[in-house]
């Protein structure tokens, strides 16, 4: 039983990182509708930026800020330089998907060029695990969970109560209609990508720390787990993404108690395929509504 609870504890940490990685993807997909294959590279960029800062200081707040900024810049440029010019030509969805693959190749290999393919490791201060209730968590684990809660709350407030959030939901519902009513939807899309990058870059930092080693494929290796959480929660539904991240994170860590831990990603992929087959619009969607339409829950 206590093993199981320990698993739940690790699951919460994984779910926190996953939520931070998934919610921005879902947010972007609700507005810009692009299945972003380069989303993993945004995380990678954040992780490497944090690594550069980590070489000089072990202040996790500075590292977090650097990671978020790097992710934000990469995501913003990816949209502004690549996707938006193509999107103006109204291409097929798959062409945009393929462009994000090209973006992924470019970003990943620029990082490979400058940082080599060697695994790097963050120098983190030793942090003995604390017993918190039934869980056994390090300071970094607690920081991760806390950060996830704060960011999720912030996303909620922005979506629900700010003018930007309202405009964003309007663009998500119908970009054309929003444009007619005077919302600058391209600007909303650009801002959404920026926010996407800020959160995802930060998630990359946490991912890099938690996985112990850092390579240029760290984000790409995590991409399908992120898609699993996003699709489970219903693509384009930020709140669903939070729930999806929780389900996938817990499933991965708890399964590791019973089957070899090497297969825990396979558990996530299996859940992904099952969701796509049985409820492609996500487990929290009404059965007949289309997940792609992207109502923000």
């Amino acid at each position: 039983m206590s093993n199981f609870l320990l698993g739940v504890g690790f699951g919460l940490v994984t779910a926190s990182i996953l939520a931070l990685a998934t919610v921005p993807l879902s947010l972007q997909m609700s507005v810009a509708r692009i299945p972003n294959f380069a989303h993993g590279e945004i995380l990678t960029a954040g992780a490497y930026a944090a690594y550069v800062v980590n070489e000089h200081t072990d202040n996790i707040y500075l590292e977090s800020v650097a990671a978020a900024l790097a992710g934000g810049v990469v995501a913003y440029l990816m949209n502004a330089l690549l996707l938006q010019p193509f999107a103006r030509r109204k291409p097929k969805l798959l062409i945009l998907f393929i462009l994000t693959i090209a973006a992924s190749l470019i970003v990943q290999n620029v990082i490979l060029f400058f940082f080599t393919g060697n695994s790097l490791a963050f120098k983190m201060p030793a942090s003995p695990p604390h017993h918190i209730g039934p869980f056994l968590l390090t300071g970094m684990n607690l920081f991760t969970i806390g950060a996830a809660v704060v960011v999720m709350a912030a996303v909620h407030v922005v979506l629900k109560y700010t003018k930007f959030g309202k405009a964003q939901r309007a663009v998500a519902d119908s970009g054309d209609l929003a444009r007619i009513t005077g919302i600058n939807s391209e600007r909303i899309v650009r801002l959404t990508w920026l926010i996407d990058g800020l959160i995802a870059g930060f998630a990359g930092f946490l991912l890099g720390v938690s996985s112990g080693t850092l390579t240029p494929t760290v984000g790409q290796g995590y991409l399908l787990v992120i898609f699993a959480a996003a699709i489970l929660g219903g693509i384009g539904r930020p709140y669903g993404a939070m729930a999806g991240a929780l389900v996938i994170g817990l499933a991965m860590e708890i399964s590791a108690l019973y089957i070899p831990a090497d297969y825990k990603e396979a558990v996530a992929f299996g859940l992904l395929v099952l969701t796509l087959l049985l409820r492609p619009s996500g487990i929290f969607a009404a059965p007949r509504s289309s997940g792609a339409a992207g109502a923000t829950a």
Binding site: L94, I95, L99, A102, L105, N109, T116, A228, G270, L276
Partner: protein
């Protein structure tokens, strides 16, 4: 040096075969497949364990089988297993999934497979991989040691694959596949089972990838799970974009360019500092930029997909139009000379002309009935119906049997009851209108009848068969064809290909027929081509027959849609607002075409908002409001009907009516 050049050539040739597999999946069928290299890997592993001697390592190492089988047996096994696995993956992933989800599902499959092969060591020795995989003809002279003879084998395999794809591309199968890529909804409306077609493409592509995998394993003689990341598949995509998606020769050129050319050139990039991956990184960044540039400047690639050229053997139309048996009481020549679509639409002349040259069941059984002499097949009967209508416009076809009976049809979307117990009848040979205010459920009714939506309740009986809930491609095989509010042509295919695709050809679309009997297929198709030309001439599009349909103007697309429908030889046509976005001159032309259709024995049910247009054309008009049918009769009757005026005409400027 020789060995080096032979090595480069072999790499290019083998990866070209792999790329041709992707060309079928993505280039022809439009399947965004990310798992391509998983099937290459399966081919490689299967070839290896079939040709290798039994494993000497004790468990948990080692590998399965170890049959010491000859080269060809190993290749055959690789192709078969890759094909079977493609069938399994495709059957799951192609079900009802959006294109991008399909890609993600295939990626999940590829990663799961890599994980299982890496972790479960008794299968293919896990991450260690397999070594000393046999390469044929290695001992034969110096050229054999350099791999020269093996290169010859690979070239033969490549030429064989190119030949196969060349035959399939132009065959009815290839055309149907490309139609699915261009617009799968339209393909369903014209009898194509999109799911099965896509599955066939996926399996065919998987077999070719498996062949490439077997040859790759024999070439590098070692294989492990590190060699086939999704990145490998993306490089093949890059090769396709560069060379020309859908063009087999372009695919080979693109593959040599990306996998050999760029690879070799970037080898000379000096290593900077201690970063051993530097040149690799530069190469992949360049390829990424190349993909972007080519999609921006020349998305069709260096060699675009070839356009189907319209040729008739000898180009002597008469030869193919004369029914050889002379079975019909009305002379074919007489019918030929009769002007107007009615003549071209007469659904009798193809059957006998084609039957002798086409051994397979040329059309599905349900259709042969239509052609073999149901009332509408006889021009006399059709003329009789037309005459009756001319005599008594308001009441025409009153005595004719019902062709379509809709009763208590229901469909809800969430809480909205779009169709709520609608019942109406369309009589054989009639031109029936369907009107109603916006949101009355007309288009949903059309979707339900034609099989594009499943009804929640009620019955749809067409020609005596209950077709409620039957999928669209089966409905259209019974001779019920529909149009769409915005014309759905297959934009990347030529006008002529659009016309040929409208004809239901059933067994002619089998893969084996495309490969084995291209001449017989061409002969069988000649009659369809000739008739398509006739119809295109009728609507004034003949000179555009080799133009991609996507280049037509809006009005021309409408005309093409009409010609396509007539070419399908339907019994019943559902027209969904054929007048939408059409200028007044063309409107007149279309009214004529619709009349000609009916004269030719085709029954028409037409949704339309333009009431004067309807009145000038239709015998009977059905009125829908709030999902129900509230009245049925001539326009004159309806004007007198208080409920109708209330629900519908009341909202219209009376001057219009």
């Amino acid at each position: 040096m020789t060995q080096y050049l032979i090595g480069l050539a072999t790499t290019g040739v083998v990866l070209s075969i792999v790329a041709l597999g992707l060309n079928v999946r993505w280039g022809w069928a439009g399947e965004f497949d990310i798992a391509l290299f998983a099937f290459v890997a399966i081919g490689a592993y299967v070839y290896a364990v079939v040709t290798l001697p039994p494993a000497s390592l004790p468990p948990p190492g080692g590998y399965i089988l170890g049959l010491r089988a000859p080269f060809l047996a190993g290749v055959a096994a690789a192709v078969v297993v890759a094909g079977l696995l493609s069938a399994a993956v495709g059957a799951i992933a192609l079900r009802k999934l959006r294109d991008d989800y399909f890609g993600i599902t295939t990626l999940a499959f590829a990663l799961i497979l890599a994980l299982v092969i890496g972790q479960y060591t008794p299968l293919f020795d896990g991450y260690e991989g397999l070594y000393n995989i046999p390469q044929p003809l290695q001992g034969a002279g110096t050229l054999g040691a350099d791999g020269g003879f093996y290169l010859g084998i690979c070239v033969i395999a490549l030429l064989g694959t190119l030949w196969l794809l060349h035959r399939l591309f132009a065959s009815p199968f290839g055309r149907a596949l490309r139609s699915v890529r261009e617009d799968d909804i339209a393909s369903q409306a014209f009898t194509r089972n999109v799911y099965v077609l896509k599955l066939k493409a996926y399996v065919l592509g998987g077999c070719i990838a498996g062949l490439g995998g077997a040859l790759l394993a024999a070439y590098i003689t070692a294989f492990n799970p590190y060699g086939w990341t999704p990145q490998e598949t993306f490089l093949i995509y890059a090769a396709l974009f560069v060379g020309g998606t859908g063009n087999a020769v372009g695919t080979v050129i693109g593959t040599f360019f990306i996998e050999v050319g760029v690879q070799e050139v970037t080898r000379y990039i000096p290593q900077i500092g201690t970063n051993a991956s530097g040149p690799d990184a530069v190469r992949l960044v360049l390829i990424g930029l190349l993909i972007v540039a080519i999609l921006w400047f020349r998305p069709q690639g260096v060699l675009p997909e070839p356009r189907g050229r319209d040729r008739l053997a000898g180009d002597r139309p008469g030869r193919f139009l004369m029914p050889r048996g002379g079975l019909r009481p009305t002379g074919p020549a007489a019918r030929w000379r009769r002007p107007g679509l009615a003549a071209a639409a007469a659904p009798a002349d193809r059957g006998p002309a084609v039957a002798p040259t086409d051994p397979g069941p040329a059309a599905p059984p349900a259709r042969t009935g239509t052609e073999a002499g149901l009332p509408l097949g006889r021009p006399a009967a059709a003329a009789g119906v037309a005459a009756a209508r001319a005599g008594a416009p308001g009441d025409a076809g009153g005595g004719a049997p019902a062709l379509l009976e809709v009763s208590a049809l229901a469909k809800s979307f969430g809480g909205v009851k779009a169709v709520d117990g609608a019942s109406f009848t369309v009589r054989e040979g009639s031109l029936t209108g369907l009107i109603g205010p916006n949101g009355a459920g007309k288009s949903t009714a059309i979707n339900l009848i034609s099989g594009f939506e499943r009804p929640d309740g009620g019955r749809v009986v067409f020609a005596g068969r209950d077709i409620g809930g039957m999928p669209a491609h089966l409905v259209s095989r019974l001779g019920l064809v529909r149009s769409f509010q915005t014309p759905r042509e297959w934009p990347g295919l030529t006008v002529m290909e659009n016309m040929l695709l409208a004809v239901p050809v059933g067994a002619r679309e089998a893969i084996w027929r495309g490969v084995c009997t291209p001449r017989a297929l061409r002969r069988a198709e000649a009659a369809d081509r000739a008739r398509a030309r006739e119809l295109l001439d009728e609507v004034g599009l003949l000179r555009l027959k080799d133009e991609p349909a996507g280049n037509l103007s809006g009005g021309q697309k409408r005309l093409l849609e009409f010609a396509r429908i007539v070419a399908a030889r339907p019994r019943l046509v559902l027209l969904d607002e054929p007048q939408a976005g059409v200028n007044p001159v063309l409107r007149e032309r279309m009214a004529e075409l619709i009349r000609a259709m009916v004269r030719g024995g085709i029954t028409v049910l037409m949704v339309e908002h333009n009431l004067p247009f309807l009145e000038s054309l239709c015998d009977v008009v059905v009125v829908m409001a709030l999902g129900r049918c509230i009245a049925e009769g001539s326009m004159a009757d309806l004007r007198a009907n208080a409920a109708v005026v209330d629900a519908y005409l009341g909202q219209v400027d009376p001057a219009d009516v």
